[in-house]
Subunit: 383 residues, 2 copies
């Protein structure tokens, strides 16, 4: 189901293709986040026009609202939201540990009250897989415990042990034919735990492997280390997915470390805050400097916002709180992320990935985007 | 510039075509409202796909933000917002009288403080025309005083006299070639004033005639009377425009009374409140009854929301406050209004307008939409 079509010589970057029940995904791939059954502010038609090949759905959010009965009634998430491409669903673990209230974790599973109306709920590894079977995603994720950051070694070790037992239970129950299942490497900031976690999961033979617990507040160095410690122990012939990451330069750095798949709310969330991604870093379109600028957000960009609209007009829309403003910024930012993956794929094929990475990272000025990213688990609202 | 191509035998309904510098408008026509240089939640491309032929821009809002310097810098409103079809701009009068603060009306003009930051501003009939010349709209409106409702005869009479003198001043200064200028009939709820107002404006030979002061809170009967009293005194060979109206049945009733053009925030504003227009009346998609419904908002509707999405999914989007929900409802509602005009045009051509009107009005269940309409002058925000 996953084939590597090229590998970079000077880094661990990989060019691949993952076949799913709803079509193939060229990797490295970015997955726009459709938390509540909609990539915020974007229609499925626009996602196709942006050439998004796969999107992510959040099991926790969909389980809470509209609920499984509704999605089952409509024939699964693809049909419910009218998206005919591949979907990856997370297991809900991350949101249970960041959003839900009154959590109680036992070997059996997690009891909690949801953040919307406090309904008491229990989710076990088996239930998480059953929910994802109803959602009908192409890729399901195992249920994992997401320890807080920072986290003591003893807690991280015990948590990892349970997460591995949960992974086995998920693997055991999952027999839904075309739905792939990915394991999740945890282990906090400890090399030994990341290694043993990756090795134990690899032995369970999952369809792919995610690296988890790397977007919950730790510094970038620890994020990279978690990947560097896990990756060597993951099977080369399976896709690797860094959950919830990251800024554009971080994505290239993670690709260089052997990661194939990404999801991140930054492009959509920052768009709703008036922020645009460019090769030189982010622009805050609320700033007065843009009011009279007749050029596009980024010269040469082929996204619908840049082809048809000026910085000055988009700035006006943002200031006037017009929905079209955040729509245009969302399209631009998703295009930026998707296009960066396309450039990375091309560069890996042509043997120029190291140059792309060096040039991009040098040109891109980080302006604190990664800080805002750490609200990844919070329910997204209009702005 | 305006030609009548058919008239109804049993009513005053007219089928016409108005030529503007940016293309022809088939009448009866509905103009989506683009208050701040954007029809809320809709892109220019989507407006074209909906076959909107003309949109409205609000001079007051655009004057306050982004301001004339900006729009001039970008070459006018068409270029600023990337809409290449016809635009009608109001004069700002209605918003000055409904939104602005500390108004002081003199023969010369109106001094006020804008609602955003309180900047003291003065607008005269001449300045209103100069502003609209900068905006570069295809149709400009004269500056009028909009008296409150209810309004005593003496005040309405004095106000009408001044509005007529203002109309003459607007007519005198307007020599901008391709920009048409419409007069506005005022006169409150008084037959004599509506008649004399219409007659005086007709003598000034405007390119078209609006009926104003009919959306500021009066009952529907008085709305219809204002049109009935004005219309016989307006030139048959010029378009008539009922400002700020109305519900779908009201539009047919106004067409039957000889009106050719409409603008109204109801379809866009109610969409952002979760409400959809159908032939049977409005639906509040927040209601639980829609949660499991697999059909479209309206059977047989060809709008992008009905072709691709179910009531149940749109209801989920509305409940979850997803932007796609209000986008889809906005597209549906605008399609509904535009399609109603198309049906009216076809019926007038085929001599079946009276039947369309009777059937539509009988089938449509009014559910209080007209109440919400009376906030027409308030600044529109996300919801």
């Amino acid at each position: 189901m996953f084939e590597l079509t090229a590998t970079d010589e000077s880094t661990k970057a990989r060019r691949g293709r993952l076949k799913t029940a709803h079509g193939s995904i060229e990797t490295p791939a970015f997955m726009p986040v459709g938390t509540q059954g909609s990539v915020k502010a974007v229609s499925p038609r626009e996602l196709h026009e942006l050439k998004a090949e796969i999107i992510l759905g959040n099991t926790y959010h969909l389980f809470v609202r509209p609920g499984l009965d509704t999605i089952k009634h409509f024939g699964g998430l693809h049909s419910f939201m009218n998206w005919d491409g591949p979907i990856l669903t997370d297991s809900g673990g991350y949101q249970i540990f960041s959003l839900a209230k009154l959590r109680k974790i036992t070997e059996e599973g997690v009891a909690f009250q949801n953040h919307l109306d406090g309904t008491p709920t229990f989710i076990s590894p088996e239930i998480a897989m059953e929910i994802q079977a109803v959602l009908g995603s192409d890729i399901a994720m195992v249920l994992d415990e997401c320890p807080p950051w920072p986290c003591e070694y003893d807690y991280a070790a015990r948590s990892l042990e349970m997460t591995l037992r949960w992974a086995e239970r998920c693997k055991r129950i999952s027999k839904t034919g075309s739905q792939m299942v990915f394991g999740i490497v945890q282990g906090g900031t400890f090399e030994e735990l990341r290694r043993s976690g990756a090795q134990a999961l690899a032995a369970m033979d999952f369809d792919g492997y995610a690296i988890g617990g790397v977007s919950v507040g730790e510094p970038e160095r620890e994020m990279m280390q978690a990947v560097e410690w896990s990756e060597p122990h993951l099977p080369k012939d399976k896709p690797r997915y860094a959950m919830g990451l990251g800024t554009p330069p971080q994505l290239l750095e993670l690709i260089a470390r052997g990661v194939d798949m990404f999801d991140c709310v930054l492009p959509t969330r920052l768009a709703r805050n008036g922020t645009a991604f460019t090769a030189a870093g982010t622009l805050n379109l609320k700033n007065a400097e843009f009011a009279m600028q007749k050029g596009p957000i980024e010269e040469g960009c082929s996204c619908p916002a840049c082809v048809d609209f000026t910085r000055g007009y988009i700035r006006h829309l943002v200031k006037a709180e017009e929905i079209l403003g955040l729509r245009l910024l969302t399209l631009h930012n998703l295009h930026f992320y998707l296009d960066l993956m396309k450039r990375a794929r091309g560069a890996i094929e042509e043997g120029t990935f190291a140059r792309l990475r060096a040039q991009f990272v040098a040109e891109y000025k980080t302006r604190g985007e990664s800080l805002e990213q750490n609200t990844g688990g919070a329910p997204e609202r209009f702005i």
